[in-house]
């Protein structure tokens, strides 16, 4: 490694340690930011010599990255950005912190995928899904699919592991010559009514989909979720036992098995490791406090809210909404979510943008109560389960109240 890169790596680790010691954060961004200031090619230097997998998509990145890192860990040490810091500064921090490892599994913000592919020269790229998310600053969904398509077309050597159930993902991966398809389901269809290739309506039936005006259609997947397990490319079914809730996480586990499979890991080796993952940077974490069992669910956009409702128990539920920079400043997505599944349980609301949520719930005929803080919410529910569903910074706020639970 060049001297400049060595200096940058040391500075990066020091800054990260200082940030953690000062209680200012996970140290997962600041270290990399400083390292990249000293050596702009630091990420390239740090990635070289490692077999890298990148995981990108609108939803499920952090969880799938964690599960994939656990699965690839069968083969040796894995560096990973497990705090969800998914831009190049976060990747740089993660690789600097771990020192040399034979493998790296990195979650990548979908906008940065082209840049991170250039810097890290991955062996495998996993494409999970694309749906609307923070449109006030994000590229519109179709433009994101085009960005991926162009990038992958210029890197035919990269193996792609992609979701056969998402038409936008299939379209963007179509130019690749080495694609392994998985089927993890698609709960949210509102961004793929129309074919990205031809503009004709997409037809759907029994889990299949096809364009009504061009040849684009669902490819036959090699990895498929079936009941509470996964079928591998040889046709063998494996029971998947997870501590993480919901069908969505079964899909994430299937994806992790598919990516690890590209490295030569067999499902039977990986599955025991997947079952040991209990929470991811606070997501799905359970905390007992004052007789309440609090469970934290993160939901950032319409598709992930539907998934959170699927995971949540019928118990008192606190919803918390912010609209700070990392969340996107726009709350209009609240109207794309149907909150009706919450009508059968007590609902509390809080957060910077609780009033936006209040208007939404009123029209949705979901009774609710507004509280000013997490502590007030805790005090106003009976002993037992409290489900907390929050978007990104609201989730971090509550996690901070709970002593940065992991």
């Amino acid at each position: 490694m060049p001297l400049r890169a060595i200096v940058a790596t040391t500075a990066s680790k020091t800054a990260a340690a200082l940030s953690r010691a000062a209680g200012r954060g996970d140290g997962s961004v600041i270290g990399g930011w400083i390292g990249l200031k000293i050596d702009p090619d630091l990420l390239t230097h740090l990635a070289s010599g490692r077999a890298v997998a990148l995981v990108s998509g609108t939803n499920g990145k952090t969880t799938t990255t964690r599960l994939t890192a656990a699965a690839v860990g069968v083969l040796g040490r894995v560096a990973t950005n497990s705090f969800g810091a998914n831009m190049p500064s976060g990747h740089t921090s993660a690789l600097a912190k771990e020192g040399h490892t034979p493998f790296a599994v990195l979650e990548v913000d979908e906008h940065y995928l082209p840049q991170v592919i250039e810097a890290t020269r991955p062996k495998v790229v996993a494409l999970l899904n694309l749906s609307r998310d923070q449109l006030d600053r994000a590229k519109e969904v179709a433009m994101m699919a085009q960005l991926w398509k162009t990038t992958l077309a210029s890197h035919p050597d990269i193996r792609v592991v992609a979701n056969a159930d998402d038409p936008l993902v299939v379209w963007s991966a179509a130019a690749s010559t080495q694609v392994t398809w998985f089927s993890a389901g698609q709960r949210w269809h509102d961004d793929s009514f129309v074919c990205p290739e031809s503009g004709h309506p997409i037809e759907r039936a029994n889990g299949d989909w096809w364009c009504s005006g061009c040849p684009l259609r669902r490819p036959r997947p090699q990895w498929v979720v079936e009941e509470d397990g996964v079928i591998d490319p040889r046709g063998d079914w494996h029971l998947v036992k997870l501590q993480l809730p919901g069908k969505v996480n079964l899909g994430n586990a299937a994806t992790a098995l598919a990516v690890a499979g590209e490295f030569g890991v067999r499902p039977i080796e990986a599955l025991p490791r997947l079952s040991r993952v209990s929470s991811i940077a606070g997501r799905y974490a359970q905390v007992d406090r004052d007789g309440r069992n609090i469970r934290l669910l993160l939901a950032k956009n319409p598709a992930s809210w539907l998934e959170a409702f699927d995971m949540a128990d019928q118990a008192p539920t606190l919803l918390s909404i912010n609209a700070r920079d990392p969340d996107g400043l726009d709350t209009s997505w609240l109207w794309d979510v149907d909150f009706a599944p919450l009508r059968d349980r007590p609902v509390l609301i809080t957060g910077d943008r609780a009033f936006d949520l209040a208007v939404r719930l009123q029209v949705n005929q979901v009774p609710f109560r507004h509280v000013n803080s997490f502590d007030e919410a805790l005090a106003s529910v009976p002993p037992g389960r409290l489900e907390v569903i929050a978007n990104y910074t609201a989730f971090q706020d509550i996690r901070a109240v709970l002593d940065r639970v992991n």
Binding site: D136, A142, D330, S332, W335, D356, V359, R360, Q362
Partner: protein, 237 residues
Amino acid sequence: MNDSTLRIVWIYPDLLSTYGDRGNMLILAHRAAARGIPVETYEVRSDMQMPTSADIYLIGGGEDGPQALAAQRLITDGGLHRAVNQGASVLAICAGYQLFGHSFFAKGTKCAGLGLLDIFSDRGETRAVGELRGDIDPRLGLPPLTGFENHGGRTHLGQHAAPLARVTGGIGNDGQTEGAWAGKVIGTYSHGPALARNPAIADLLLRWSTGADRLAPLDDSWPERLRGERLAAATPA
């Protein structure tokens, strides 16, 4: 369906529903039902014929490609023109607002609009993103407009359209005026669920389409709290 039923059409949700546009339909239906007005909503996709006899038509925001496609299909279909000429009310948002004018730009190309509002749109040098606030045309008798805008367009009004509002925060059409209205057609750059923050505009559409001079008041304490918060959050123009 009987004649006292209020019929609301959401135009092409398969093309123009970028963010929360469904909200306007839900809010209108909710506020009508709360007054005991029977209401039916129709989501008319771009492969369906546009009904001509509904009372309120809603059209939302979208990306350039779908915007151009929607304009073409609405011109070919002709149903929306007949409905507006027969006196239907319209709320047109963002891309939907632009395509109600004579022309607009999509993917760098000038496209023909519906010509149902005397406006035309081109591209601004910067994207307008953030809180939007304005004083609504006093002839409409409504409290200030609050919205969130996110668009790259600039819109110019002809003689036969009036600005919906004078901008007091944000950009709107051009930093001076925001939106447009003529007859019973309202267009605005307040994107997505604009009516969530502006229940008075929802009630104006309901009054226009039912002929009622006034509607029974509703408990709007949550929308009012939201309005207060967002009007204060807009940066003065």
